[in-house]
Each structure stands twice: as C-alpha cells, then as structure tokens.
Amino acid sequence: MIHYHPSIEILTDYAAGSLPLAHSLCVSTHLEHCPECQQQIRKLEMLGSHLFDQVQTEHRQLSNLKDSFFKNLAQQPSPKEKHKVSPQEDKAIRWDDYAIPRSLRQFITKSYDDLTWTRLSPSFKIATLYNEEGGAQVALTRVKAGAHMPTHTHTGDEITLVLQGAFSDESGIYRQGDFINRDASHKHKPIVTKDAECICLTVLDAPIEFTGWLTRLLNPIIRRYHPHSH
C-alpha cells in the first residue's frame, strides 16, 4: 500500500508536460505502483485535451505543409509492430526478485549490480544515472539493512522514490513506490528497516550536505558527483 504520493501540483505539471524530465522520471516510476495516481493523471490529461481543443488557431494556409508532409510520408518505412515487453519478459528481467521499473530500463538493462556504485561509507553506496547540465542529479542510493544514512540537509529540493526495501525517518516509514519530496529546509536522518537493504531513486536539485561531525568529511565527495559543482 502506497502512502506517499506526489503533490497535485507535481502531478499536474507532469500531465501537462511542464515538469523537468528528471522529476518526471520519478513520477513515472511512482505511477507504475500507484493506480490511484494513474486515475488522477488520466483526468488531468483529459483536462489538457480540452484546453488543447479550445486553443486559438490562426488562419494560415497549411497546404504547403500538408503537401510536404504527404511527400515525406511516402518515404516513411512502414511501421513495424513496436516491441512490447510481455509479462513473461518482465520476469526475465528480475534479478534476486528485484524488478527494474519500466521507466528505468533505459539506464539499467539487467540488474542494479551492473551500475557503477561509489561507496561513501561501509553501508551507503550511490550510482549516478545521469547529470542534467546545470540541473538536477539523478542517482540511485543503496543502503544496507538496518543502517543509518548520515544526517543531512538538502541544499535544494530532493525527491526520493523507494524502489526496494523500506526506510524511516522522523516523519514516517516509506515503502516501495512511496514518493517523498523534501525541500531545502529539511534536515533528516533516515534509517533503513532491518529486514532488507533499501534502494531508492533520488533526484537532487543541489547537493545534499551531511551535518554530522564525522560525515561532514563526505561533503567534498558528494559535491564532486553533483553537476552544479563542475
């Protein structure tokens, strides 16, 4: 059961297509787990289609455009049935019972283990999926069962989407599919539940900062991996 959803603002921006792609990736992953938000998106897209339908059109001759479109169409290869992932193939991608969400398969083809993980502490690893130039960092974090993540604050907004396992902090417990949005004012100290490791998808608008006296040593490393610091 999912308890933490994207806000209606985020869902609206996503349905409208105005949300940055890094954030859309998190929403898309959440939707794979959440029929409730899928319903919401369906209605928000309906709203979009009515606004689209009512858009003011200009009186403009489009016959040239139409001619050139049909000329191009004649040169198009005939469409092939697009390869769809069948439920059986879905299973084939599983590794150790970890199913890679559809939205992440453009980055991870087989297993989370194929990524290049950087160990930041004995129990905490991070793998960057990609850095948006001048924008957000999209990464996976992997924390061992029962481990604490170092106390940290965010210097920008952070979205966390639980892919595997569960973790908790002062405000609650978060499980697979939960979508957690934290702003810069938030300082927290997550703990992973004892039964399994926890893998999360995170989008950071700016590097996180560790605030514990010892883990502060990690800040230069974290910054090195964030696009803003290049």
Partner: protein, 191 residues
Amino acid sequence: MERAIQLPNDEQRVTDIYAVAEHRDQAALGRLFDHYVPKVRSFCLAAQPGANLMADDIAQEVMIRIWNKAHTYKPESASLNTWVFTLARNARIDYLRRNSRHQSDIDPEYLWEYVIDENADPFKDAQQKRDQERIQQGLDKLPPDQKQVLSKVYLEGKTHKEAAEELSLPLGTIKSRVRLALHKLTIYVKR
C-alpha cells in the same frame, strides 16, 4: 441520389483513425491533418511564440506518430482528443529536449507509458464519458484567473513556479488557483 450520412465531427474522426489503422487510408489521415495540425501548431507557439518552424516540425511529427501508432489507439482508455494531446505533449517535450542547450539524456518516450491496461473494464467507458463531460462543462464556467493559470501550465508548458514568476504572484496563489480549479472540475479530491 443517396446522401452520405454525416457523422458528428468527433465520431467522424474516430472512424478516420480506424481507417488509418486498418486500411492505411491517406484521405482519412488528411482529414485528421486538417483538424489537428492547426491545434498542434498553436499549442507549440504558445510555449515558444514566433517559432513557426518548430511548430511545423512538431505538427508533422505528431501526424507521423498518428500514422504509425493509429493501431495502438484504444477508445476505452482515452478519447481521441486526449490521445492526440498526449502525442503532441510528448512530441513537444522531445523536440525541446533534442534542441535545447541543456540536452537531457533521459529518453522521454517511455516516461508516459505507465498505464497497465490489460483488462478492459466495461464500466470504464461510461465513467470516462462522465468525467469528460464534467471537465468540459466545468472548464467553461471557471473564473478567468483560474483558467489563465491552467493555460500557462498546459499550453505554455510552464511549471507552477514559472507561472508564479511570470504573473508576479506568490507561488501559493498559483497553487491555490490550480487546486480550486481542479476541485471544481472534480479532478482533485483531497486525500
């Protein structure tokens, strides 16, 4: 002389999309072109005023997608207008991504394909029609300030934050206008 039966426009277009899917009917595609291309162009120009070449490119891309994907259109999941809106939205995102200074490595094609829709629900069709009507009627009655914000987000492609900056209003005001509008359209029910 036998007269051709005139179908209402929406139904005619659904007939056309089937003709495209099943018979590769270019005349039907031509009619869809005439209806949708001006809308797609305006949709693009709303986000990038004056960018006529971009609008032409995206409009053609949307028509190619209609031609190639017509067989994937499912009337029980979405109305044809909604389907075309999502194609236009995705084509615009893709175009902006490929042509922006900040090229993104995320391929947007798969980000809006979340719906697991294997079992068609016989009630869904009726539900969908009710939702459509409610939204359409509600939209016409919205106060202009709420509709303006929705247009900024949907047509101009602005985030809530950007809409707030452009209208010189606090972000909270924008958020509450959108929430009020979505509430009236019965899209948003507080959890």
